[in-house]
Symmetry: C2
Subunit: 479 residues, 2 copies
């Protein structure tokens, strides 16, 4: 097998192994070695599972082996979840067995300094001698929603499949973010890789795998450090035009850098350098978790925009004013409505109303009598207007005790004759918690991403527009 073929096969074996050894499998429900095995079974992983534990005949009904190299069949990958000092010996067994890759969940390596750092060198030496790829140590590792394979020892919600893949240094964070995404975000996931200390497999390796993964359209990354920055930028430059890459890179400051050293043993890169490299490679950078998830949602759910001109339909004057500010702040342009749009809307605007973009939809409502009709008319006009490349919808939810104010967006969409918006449309509502949740759920069903504020609407659109301006609309953002 050629080196590059072998390399690809090793990374593939991390996400799609036909067989896995679980070293440290146990029936003690307090132990990660139990939860991990439980997850593999519960998520319906179809490959062969070989529990490895010296002290047991079976674990959870599966035949158990004392050592990896005593397993009779082929073993593609091994998940290792035993104390750090036992890992080198297990790695030798894996080498003996010609295992392609290992996922080391155990902590107590580079991040712990001293003896941990020595152990880390040892496992690297063993891996390189046997040609084994390592994910981790110090992580929850891998999740593939499409085949149910995982190395996570955190109890997982049943994952929804979808176009987003996540690479995150640090497993606990990856797992918590995963729970958060699965229960709050309207898109599904494809692959999750928690890379931990990144002693071997890095973001670039996973990115190369995701490049060819038909189930991944968008990649979101949380990283504290990237060992081979040059390669990461090279790979990203190649992947970016096909699949947007959004990164939250921490350890940006001196204090952050110090904290990262003890967390994942990452060394700091000067942030200006990393930032410039990201821009050159077309990587979309997020400053915090909310921004990372906001952009991920926009890319996962939006068709590509044809330009940077935004139309705003706001159900309150304040929404118009703040949206206009935000559009200027984020370097976008307010669309100049076409003559056709102006003419159409003029018929539905009372004489004292000033018709412009941002459009105060309440003006239209005053003339046409109810909010739903005003939404239908303005949304339709904006979605059709070739001068409008993206639309931001700003609703207020007021209990005015009357049907006049109710808007059923499902009906609005079907009246306009669209299943999903054919140009980027984002929405927000200022309302009670209950109304906000209902609105967000309805919008999610209609394929419209929602945000908690109009500012985040515009920020998300600005990420879409920047990406589009760099790469054009020929990418496969929307399947």
């Amino acid at each position: 097998m050629s080196t590059s073929r072998r390399f690809c096969e090793s990374i593939r074996s991390l996400f799609d192994p036909e067989s896995v050894a679980v070293v440290g499998a146990t029936e003690n429900p307090e132990k990660p070695g139990y939860l991990l095995l439980r997850n593999l079974i519960d998520l319906g992983y179809r490959g062969k599972i070989y529990p490895v534990n010296r002290g047991r005949e079976t674990v959870l009904g599966l035949k158990c082996y004392p050592r990896v190299n005593e397993i009779p069949g082929e073993v593609e990958t091994a998940v290792i979840i035993v104390p750090a000092k036992e890992v080198p010996k297990i790695m030798e067994d894996c080498g003996d067995k010609k295992v392609r890759s290992v996922i080391i969940c155990s902590s107590g390596f580079g991040e712990a300094g001293g003896d941990g750092a020595k152990l880390e060198k040892m496992i690297l030496e063993i891996a390189s001698r046997h040609g084994i790829r390592i994910v981790g140590p110090n992580t929850t590792g891998i999740l593939n929603t499409y085949n149910g394979f995982t190395s996570s020892f955190v109890k997982l919600s049943k994952p929804v499949r979808g176009p987003v893949s996540i690479i995150a240094q640090t497993g606990m964070f990856a797992s918590a973010m995963l729970e958060h995404i699965l229960t709050t975000q309207p898109y599904g996931l494809s692959k999750v890789a928690g890379l931990g200390n990144k002693v071997d497999v890095e973001d670039s390796d996973i990115l190369e795998y995701l490049e060819g993964d038909p189930d991944t359209r968008v990649v979101a990354i949380y990283a504290e450090g990237i060992r081979d920055g040059r390669r990461f930028i090279e790979v990203s430059r190649r992947v970016s035009p096909k699949k947007p890459i959004i990164i939250l890179k921490s350890a940006r400051t001196r204090s952050g850098g110090r904290a990262a050293e003890t967390h994942t043993g990452s060394l700091m890169v000067r942030d200006e350098i990393f930032d410039a490299a990201c821009r050159a490679a077309g990587i979309i950078r997020a400053g915090d978790i909310e921004e990372l998830l906001d952009y991920t949602k926009a890319f996962a759910m939006s068709p590509p925009p044809r330009g940077d001109r935004v139309g705003v339909i706001a159900y309150t004057g304040a929404g118009c004013v703040m949206s206009a500010d935000a559009i200027e702040d984020y370097g976008l342009r307010l669309a100049e409505l076409s003559e056709e749009t102006m003419e159409t809307l003029r018929t539905y605007t009372p004489p004292f109303g000033v018709l412009s973009n941002p459009l105060d939809a309440e003006l239209i409502r005053m003339k046409v009598g109810n909010a739903e009709e005003s939404m239908k008319l303005s949304l339709e006009a904006f979605m059709r207007d070739p001068n409008v490349n993206m639309v931001s919808l700003v609703m207020v939810g007021l209990r005015r005790g009357s049907k006049i104010w109710e808007v059923d967006f499902r009906r609005v969409f079907s009246k306009i004759g669209m299943d999903h918006p054919e140009k980027p449309l984002v929405a927000t509502i200022m309302a009670s918690r209950e109304v906000t949740e209902e609105f967000n759920e309805e919008m999610a069903r209609l394929g419209v991403p929602t945000y908690p504020s109009l500012h985040r609407n515009i920020r998300a659109l600005s990420a879409l527009a920047r990406y589009h301006l760099k790469y054009g609309t020929s990418n496969n953002l929307q399947t």
Copy 2:
């Protein structure tokens, strides 16, 4: 009565009138004149209510009058909700009746241009001739949670009383924000003033009233324009040291300015000038709605910090790294833990663990065996450490299927022996929607403000610290 006494009485009459005329009262449930009256009755307003409507004998069981000046008793204030062109005549009646103030909900004045602008001039002339103060036009006006008085024609949730008062230009936004706050924020409200076109009563007038209002501790403002900027800054400079003022000022950009002109007829101020004036007057500026509400929550719920040194307890290494970054970004300092804290925590840290601030609480958990105990130990140490002025708690909620990982913060607080934190403590969790909601509710009960991300934790602390550094801890932030 002296001019200034009269002035104070007029503004007081807007929030606490003994009698109110509702001009445009009706029983048609689709009309604002109905909802307004309904609100007054439902919120339990105890003053005299006089419906005014030419065509009716009674409205909702209350005796109705054809004109304001035909009401027998005294009328302190009038809420006017009839078409714009009828307003001048009603204003004359109000003058005749010696009404102190009017709240004009009707739109179609300055914001509509042309005839609207003429009408606006007319009502101003009438008001000045009779010494009547005007709130609005083009707004939902006033809400006082302490006596149930309101001019709002939006159906209101039963408001919770609390320390925060809101001044917002534009009534629909004020109402929607109100609904949002009442159902999502863990603090209550005192006064809400939606000022609309601000032809007369301005932010400064309301601020002066709130200065002396014992029920208001924090003031949040949304403004598009402020007519008398000089006075606003003067009043703010006086009020700020006593009660923090947080402002979201829109119409900052050219596009925003244009949108504001047609919305509330506001004229734009150069933003650098406004910003400098705010800084001089100690006003806390927010860039968007989330920031406005984040700061409001921090000030409403936090004791004053004694400095800008932050301690972070994070239940994931990633939380430590990102918090350290955020602290540097927001100009705060990472606290250097005292020798005592270090000694205490060292006993509970495994040998390979690196003890520092931010503190990875998982280290402590590894040694002490369960998450709750690790939280108790670290929170107690941080709350006691005089080097730590403020604390940010970063949790991850993982379903690890074991009690070892569960934390009951009520129990943690009672073990530490505190009802509420005695120094600013903010918290966040990365978890599933359900776990997040539970956590936020538990924290709210313990008087701890929560935010959706660790970045917003630190941003909120930075607002507290900046305010403290300007005014010291002698203000009445906490009653």
